[in-house]
């Protein structure tokens, strides 16, 4: 069962990545959205370099969260047009593989856009990020995983409701409060004049990811019921 789940997940992940690489719709729109937030934010605060160190982490994570709540919309909506979700369900032995592939793809997309936007943030706000790049990568990964796990589950829910485009952020953003708080805290430590890693925060993010992965594993199959 374990091996079957893994190979099924990998095949489905390949399908998700291929779909995205052919159109590049998600990545392009998400990158532009984050860029837009960064530029508009500077008009509201007119931040100096030291301001940016204080607010930068929060700005980054808010932008990532809002971008994610848009990026996660088509995740299950896409499968509805030709009812491909039923086909997927018939194809795999464990429906958890579908969720696992989708959340892995979402984590990768989110992480890719975050890494693309990080140098832009560094330049626009005069905050050096390269000395702590490795640590930032770790936080971005754990944070994006948390966003994707919860986001994939909720996008499966919201795809079946009316006003789904508006609904997903309303469901997702309060649920992600812990990720926002922890990621912002750790990132703020890394952007400090004397950067430091808040391991407590890193551990907290890992716990969040694990808790929601377990919940998804336990209740995921019900999310995909016809």
């Amino acid at each position: 069962m374990g091996l079957g789940l893994l190979s099924n997940t990998l095949v489905l992940l390949g399908k998700e990545l291929r779909t995205e690489l052919r159109s590049r719709e998600l990545l392009t729109t998400t990158v532009i959205f984050i860029l837009l937030v960064m530029v508009l934010f500077s008009f509201t605060f007119d931040p100096s370099s030291s301001d940016a160190r204080r607010f930068g982490a929060g700005l980054l994570w808010l932008a990532f969260l809002f971008a994610a709540s848009l990026m996660l919309q088509p995740c299950f909506l896409r499968e509805q047009t030709n009812d491909t979700l039923s086909a997927l369900r018939l194809a795999v032995s464990d429906p958890f593989a579908i969720l696992l592939a989708k959340l892995a793809a979402n984590t990768l997309f989110l992480l890719a856009t975050e890494l693309l936007m990080l140098p832009v943030f560094a330049v626009l706000y005069n905050v050096p990020v390269f000395p702590v790049f490795g640590q930032l990568l770790l936080v971005f990964f754990l944070g994006s995983l948390g966003v994707s796990v919860a986001g994939t589950a909720l996008s499966a829910i919201s795809a079946q409701a009316r006003m789904r485009e508006l609904l997903l952020p309303l469901l997702l953003l309060p649920l992600l409060t812990p990720v926002l708080v922890a990621s912002t805290q750790v990132t703020a430590g890394l952007l400090d004049v004397q950067p430091f890693v808040q391991w407590k925060g890193v551990g907290f993010l890992a716990v969040f990811d694990l808790v929601f992965l377990t919940a998804l594993w336990l209740f995921g199959e019900y999310l995909l019921e016809e």
């Binding site: 309060p174 812990p178 407590k200 929601f212």
Partner: protein, 225 residues
């Protein structure tokens, strides 16, 4: 129906007794003065709200596993009642905080967690209103309710990092803490009418939801006939 009316009358009496105890039996606080008396409403509301959300969670899990509409009715009733108590808690909190702390609101762990909790259950009810088909609505909202409830300890834990301004647990809060015995007794007594009110509201709301469910079945039968 008669039984419920009698029970409602009992709840009203209990509430009146609690109000009397809060205003006339509990002594005035040495430092905070009269304003502290709002805790006799605020604390029971907070606890009852949390308990309602726990009932909602139980209903959600039971629905997912058993698929009996009754659990869905319990879930939505508990969520609405919990939201009402949490709203009361969020309103009475600032009224107390302004004279005592000098500010209406602070982003401390318990306040912020309660605010996020409130938002999560508003989202739960919003989700329900946006799905037409009853079984789908029951299943999806139950799943969201489960995720939301799991999130609560994480929300609280994450916000704990900020220095917290809320009074530390006074009852069973370790050495040095403690409430005047009369105040403590009144506080516990005030919780009883809130719990009784919770049961009354949940019962009525459940009955309403059950009627809606029955009506829906009839309506669908008519449409297919």
């Amino acid at each position: 129906m008669k039984k419920q009316a009698a029970y409602a009358a009992f709840v009203v009496l209990l509430l009146a007794a609690a109000a009397y105890a809060a205003f006339f039996i509990a002594p005035t606080d040495a430092r905070q003065g009269v304003v502290y008396r709002i805790i006799f409403l605020h604390v029971p509301c907070a606890e009852t709200g949390l308990l309602s959300f726990f009932v909602c969670f139980v209903g959600n899990v039971a629905y997912v596993l058993k698929r009996d509409a009754k659990w869905d009715w319990l879930g939505v009733s508990a969520a609405e009642v919990g939201l009402a108590f949490t709203t009361a808690c969020l309103v009475t909190g600032p009224i107390w905080a302004k004279p005592v702390w000098g500010i209406w609101w602070t982003w401390d762990a318990r306040l912020t967690s309660t605010a996020v909790l409130w938002l999560l259950y508003v989202a739960y009810l919003l989700l329900r209103s946006l799905i037409e088909e009853p079984e789908r609505r029951a299943l999806l909202s139950a799943l969201f309710g489960i995720f939301a409830f799991i999130d609560v300890p994480l929300v609280f834990g994450s916000i704990r990092w900020w220095r917290t301004q809320h009074p530390q647990p006074v009852i069973m809060g370790g050495p040095g803490s403690g409430l005047d015995p009369t105040m403590k007794a009144v506080l516990f007594f005030c919780w009883a009418p809130m719990l009784a009110l919770m049961v009354l509201l949940m019962q009525s709301r459940y009955r309403l939801e059950a009627m809606r469910g029955d009506l829906d079945v009839v309506r669908r039968e008519m449409e297919t006939a």
